[in-house]
Subunit: 438 residues, 2 copies
Amino acid sequence: MTLSVGRVDHGDCGKRQSETPDGRPGCMQPTVDGARFRERFEAFNEIGATERGGVDRPSLSPANRETRDCLVEWFRTAGLDVTVDEMGNLFGRRAGADDSLPPVLVGSHVDSQYNGGRYDGVVGVLGALEVVEALDDAGVETERPIEVVAWSNEEGVRFQPDMLGSGVFAGVFDLDYAYAREDRDGNRFGDELERIGYRGDAPCEPRDLHCYLELHVEQGPSLDESDRSIGVVEGVYGFSWVDAAFEGSADHAGPTPMHLRHDALVAASDVVGAVRRIAGTGGDDLVGTVGSIDAHPNSINVIPERVEFTLDFRSYDDDVVDRAVERARREVEWAAEREGVDWEFEEIMRIGANPFADECIEAVERAARSVLGEDDHARLVSGAGHDASYLREICPTGMIFVPSVGGVSHVEEEYTEWADVVRGAAVLLEATLDMANG
Amino acid sequence: MTLSVGRVDHGDCGKRQSETPDGRPGCMQPTVDGARFRERFEAFNEIGATERGGVDRPSLSPANRETRDCLVEWFRTAGLDVTVDEMGNLFGRRAGADDSLPPVLVGSHVDSQYNGGRYDGVVGVLGALEVVEALDDAGVETERPIEVVAWSNEEGVRFQPDMLGSGVFAGVFDLDYAYAREDRDGNRFGDELERIGYRGDAPCEPRDLHCYLELHVEQGPSLDESDRSIGVVEGVYGFSWVDAAFEGSADHAGPTPMHLRHDALVAASDVVGAVRRIAGTGGDDLVGTVGSIDAHPNSINVIPERVEFTLDFRSYDDDVVDRAVERARREVEWAAEREGVDWEFEEIMRIGANPFADECIEAVERAARSVLGEDDHARLVSGAGHDASYLREICPTGMIFVPSVGGVSHVEEEYTEWADVVRGAAVLLEATLDMANG
């Protein structure tokens, strides 16, 4: 895609400017400035940039602090009223014509996976900032206030669980629970938040919101495979996370005959295979993953004594997830029985399927039609959890996906065509306008 | 077993003093002092002691340096002439009647696994020291000189490969190669040896030896199961070590459908199961182990992109090991093909089966009969590699095993009845006398 210098209107997204749903004059039609947006995106991603083209900005890291400083500056420059809450969630508020009305909240997150990608979360926060600037450029005042938000600790790679900032905001987790989360080195979330200077004063608790909208990369292959630019997200898969372990005997790999072994890794490998079988037969949309495995003592010539591993099952059908977890639990028992080892199996997280609000799904779909015409969007369900999964607990919520090339995400190679990012922001702008005035 | 205070003669091992093979007068018969030996053993194992009753003294660690300081002091107190060679191997020499004759070398190692056991290596070095002190006590001069040795870096957990000190001494490895070995943090063996002050001046190279004898715990269950006190070791299993890896794609565990996955852990788990099958069908004495596995990025919600793992196959029949490695290589290829991932497979170490010298096996067996009578020893083959495996390249070599309770070793729970340790030292004394005078 060729970007014009300066302002990019809908024409650059391949759509006609006159197709706005409310028939406002084209000249005053707020439009996304693709060049400005990209300039910000590139500058932002210099922070914590990795050699292989990704970013390394885990939650509350020095690089994460830098991105926060940058956002606060940009929010202020855009005339937004900045608030930092007790969880370090950042809000930038643009007043509405009736500022007493509950705001439209728009955003995502900026923490990354370890050596993660440049798009995950970032397009949603910078896209929301672009939305309010486009409104400013066009001199548009909305009925309701609009708030841009960047949630803390969405990825959950340094501090678990993930989506911690939005989870506390939505009343799913207590603040004390969140503060007490520890990273691998025993650093507590609350202390680290204080250390980087982003433990704010504003209460982190549910408040009256008109709706929440989030633009995000799909992180799966569906849009890329079907050659659509925009995903209208109907909801998010439910999922279960399990911590499991086997404990056997750490004998010497040489003199210990096979019949006397109690090898925790053999048992764990049985379960890895079982998870693949369960995912293959447990339901159409069921996926199952063993993502993490740690063997002890992990030495070439010692039989593994203890192996800890994780399970991740997801489906849009909660019963399917429940049955998968139960099947996996039995497989763990059977593998332990076969190998003569002890077993542990603990479900550490269970989130039901999260359908979004019809009014938000429809607003996003109208916006997609308006920006892209009839045939460049698709309704879909998200396999990944998002901050929107928790926001939907307290207000009508919707999401917009843009394609992940090859379905790849959570790695440095994560990539979305810039034209698609701009289309996503344009749809977000339309949907936000719709909800802020509707 | 009840230990008398002070001197323990063969009677304490349940055997008659008069059963010495050479008919020397009983009163002058050198005997192991079990109480002294135990006092040393306990004092020595206070160094690097762990809470769970083991020791943590990996190669060239501060605790390993402390054990070296302790040995040097004890060697000197015992009147031995101490030499440290370029690999940090420690020698303590007791002169012979004809000191120009090649010496009988007796010893083992004192480096440990990470959180390893108290017996592995230690009983062989302190047992050898007890042998020369028993000879001193009895005023016995041997025809040939006797040297006590503690080899560097036998375990191979910090610096690979294992048996590095004896390997260089036997001419299997170059000194430069050994010095360049790096630990996980990139510290080189040569630099660390220098740092702890044990890079000696004596050349580490093959020299003329009459024989090498080593007392060691069995590290397997055979003696414990058959209720024998002494193993007369006929040789050591050959083994192969392989570094293998799969490399697929690190996609998000939620939105990535099962049919698009290239999961390195699923492929690795197939191979763990295959190794168990190969060990079960590849030969009577064949054992196979995947001891180490590392997944990347090792995150609960990311499909494993890369999994590195190790293979260890052992048998006393070299053809059996070769066939097992070849079967495993094909299993790796097939697993990669099934999962659509890349594979790596590199044999990093191959040691053939090592039969010991008949003269040493027979000397050990005569000593066992002399000390224990007819029925308390068994001939066996070692599944674990030992310094003796390399020494046999340059001189007649033999080993004496004492039982590992439950066959357990390389862990803190490693345990040998003290009475068996004393019996082992008594057999070592007899065999050493036999070889030093024969």
